[in-house]
C-alpha cells in the first residue's frame, strides 16, 4: 500500500493543444479532489477532537475545569506558577501516575506473556490445520473458531464459579491463563490463513528429505513466520491490555490490571477531578498506542486476517 500514488502524481500539464471541453473536465476533476480533501480533513478533525479534549483538560488545574471554558486552552499552563501554591496541571499527571503506575506494571506482566504464549500455540495449530492436516481438520478448525465469537458473558458465570472452587487468586495470574486460552482461536485463525499462503513445494521438499512434522515446523515454517507473529502479538497484546470484562469479573481492584484502576480513578472518589481522569486515560493508552504507531504498518494486514475471509 503505497502513499501518494494515483491521482496526485498524474502529470497535469500537457504540451498538446487541448481538445474542446477538456479543460472543463479537468476543472471538474480538480473540484472533486478539493471537495474530497475538505471532507477528509473535516473527518480528521472530528476524529481527533476527543484527543484534544483529553490533553487540554489533563493540563488544567482542577479549579480551572469549568464547563463554560471546557473547550479552551488552559488559562494557566502547568509550568506557570499556581495561585497561592495551589494545584497545577502537573498535579493531575502525578495523581494519575500514583493511581496507575503499579497496575500498568502488572498489565505488562499480563499482556506480554499472554501475547507470546497464545501466538506460539496459535502458530502450531495454524501450521497443522493449514499444512499438515488430519481427517476432519476443517471441522476442528471451525469448532475452535467459534470460540472467538462467543460473548464471554456466556461462560462467565461458570468461570467465576470454577475460579472460586479451584481457589485461583484474584490477580493477573488467573487473567493470564484466561487470556491465553481465549486468544487461541484468533491466533490459530491468523496463522492458518498466513500459512495457507506458503508455497506447497517448500513443504513437499522438506517431506521428501524425510523431515518429520516438528522438524518441518521448526526449521522451515517458523523462520518464515515473523510477519504472522507481528500480527498476532499486536492483536493479543492490545486485547489483553484493553480488556475490562475479564478483569472486572475475575480480579480485584488492588491486584488487577490497568483497566480496573483507571475505571476506579475515573469513577471513584476523584469524580470531580476530570483532569486526573483524563491524564490517567492518556497514560493507560500509551503502551497500545506506541505498539500501534511503531508496528501500525502491519496492522491493516492483520485486521484483514482477523476477519474470517481467507
Amino acid at each position: 500500500m503505497s502513499v501518494g500514488t494515483g491521482l496526485g502524481k498524474r502529470p497535469r500539464t500537457s504540451a498538446q493543444p487541448e481538445m474542446p471541453g477538456q479543460s472543463e473536465l479537468r476543472n471538474r476533476k480538480r473540484m472533486s479532489r478539493t471537495v474530497k480533501y475538505v471532507f477528509l480533513i473535516l473527518f480528521l478533525v472530528i476524529v481527533l477532537m476527543p484527543v484534544y479534549v483529553l490533553i487540554v483538560t489533563s493540563l488544567k488545574p482542577p479549579q480551572d475545569v469549568n464547563p463554560a471554558t471546557s473547550w479552551g486552552l488552559p488559562v494557566r499552563w502547568p509550568w506557570e506558577p499556581a495561585l497561592e501554591g495551589g494545584p497545577t496541571g502537573f498535579d493531575n499527571w502525578a495523581l494519575a501516575w500514583n493511581a496507575l503506575s503499579a497496575s500498568i506494571g502488572r498489565t505488562f506482566l499480563l499482556a506480554i506473556p499472554a501475547a507470546l504464549i497464545s501466538s506460539f500455540l496459535g502458530a502450531m495449530n495454524g501450521f497443522v490445520l493449514a499444512r499438515w492436516r488430519f481427517p476432519y481438520a476443517d471441522i476442528v478448525f471451525t469448532v475452535i473458531l467459534f470460540g472467538m465469537f462467543i460473548p464471554y458473558q456466556a461462560i462467565m458465570t461458570p468461570l467465576v464459579q470454577m475460579k472460586t472452587s479451584l481457589g485461583l487468586p484474584s490477580d493477573i495470574s488467573t487473567l493470564l491463563i484466561v487470556h491465553v486460552i481465549y486468544g487461541l482461536p484468533i491466533c490459530t485463525l491468523i496463522f492458518r490463513n498466513y500459512y495457507a499462503g506458503i508455497p506447497h513445494e517448500l513443504m513437499e521438499a522438506s517431506r521428501m528429505d524425510g523431515a518429520g512434522m516438528l522438524r518441518t515446523f521448526g526449521s522451515i515454517v517458523l523462520p518464515l513466520s515473523l510477519p504472522g507473529f507481528v500480527v498476532t502479538i499486536i492483536w493479543q497484546f492490545t486485547s489483553a491490555w484493553n480488556d475490562f470484562l475479564f478483569a472486572l469479573f475475575l480480579s480485584n481492584q488492588n491486584d488487577g490490571p490497568v483497566s480496573l484502576s483507571l475505571n476506579n480513578l475515573a469513577q471513584g472518589a476523584q469524580l470531580a477531578n476530570y483532569g486526573a481522569a483524563m491524564a490517567g486515560a492518556l497514560l493507560a493508552s500509551l503502551p497500545t498506542l506506541i505498539v500501534y504507531i511503531v508496528l501500525g504498518k502491519y496492522f491493516i494486514g492483520g485486521l484483514m486476517s482477523g476477519s474470517v475471509k481467507s
Binding site: 477532537m49 476527543p50 500455540l121 456466556a154 475471509k309
Partner: protein, 296 residues
Amino acid sequence: MKKGYKNWGPPLLLVSPTIIVIGIFVYGLIGANVAVSFSNRNSLVPATEFVGLDNYFALFAEERFIHSLQNLGVFTVFFIAGTMIFGFLWAWMLDKGVTAEGVFRSVFLFPMAISFVASGVVWRWLLNSAEGDRASGLNRIFENLGLGFLQNSWWNEPGWGMAAIALPAIWQLAGYVMALFLSGFRGIPEELREAARMDGATEWKLYRYVIFPQLSPVALSALIIVGHMSLKVFDLIMAITKSIYQTEVPATYLWVALTANDYAKSATIATILLLFVAVLIVPYLVYTARAERKQR
C-alpha cells in the same frame, strides 16, 4: 491425504492441547452455563431443583429485561449503520491514493488501539447531559456555535438515548471497517479496472458495476464482525454511564444479576446473548467453511 494414524496422529497430537482447552473452556462452560440457567440457583446456595425454562419465561416477562433488549436494538442499528457508512466512505476516499494517505489512515484507525475504559473517560464528558450555562462537551460546542437547539440529554434519555452511546463506539470502530474495505479495494486487480476503462466505462460505472460487487464479501465480513461486537457491548457502557436503567443492555444487566449472586438469572441472560450471537455467526462459519472447501 495418506491413510494411517502415523500420518494423522502427530498433527492431531499437536493440536490436541488446544482442542481440550477449548473443549473445556468454551463448550464445557457454555454447557455449565445452560445447566445453571435451568436451575433455581438464585443465591450462593447451590441449586436444588431443575426448573426447566422457568427462568427464561420470567425474564421475558420482565419490563426491565425487555427495555434492555430495546436498548441493544437501538444501539446495534446506529452502531452498524455508523461504522459501515463511515468505514466505507473513508476507504472510498482513500482508495485512489491521496497525499499523506498514511496520516489519514493512521488517524482513522488509532481509536481502535484505545480501550473502551479509556475512551469512556472522555466520552462521558463529551456526552454530558447538562445544557445551557452548565453545558460541557458537545452541548457546549452547540451552545457556543449558536446551535443551542441541538443540545440534548444524550444517553440520559431512556428511549433513544442508546443512539448516543453508539457515537463513541462508531468513533472507535469505523476505522476498523475502513481498513477492511481498504484491503478489499486494494485487492481488486488493476487489470480489471483497466479493462473496464478500455470498454469505455465512466468512473461511476466502474465503481457501480465492477468494484462494488467485488466488495460484497468484505462488506459481509465487516457486517458480521461489527454485528457480533455490538451484541456484546459492555465495557463502553460501564465506562460511560456505569450500570443504569437508561443504558442497560443484557450484558450489563447480567453483571447486575451476577453481583447480586443471582446465578440462575445471569446464566439465563448469558444463554440468550449466546443464542443471538450464534444465529449470526454459525451460518457465517458454515458458509465460509463451504466456500473454502470448494476452492480447494
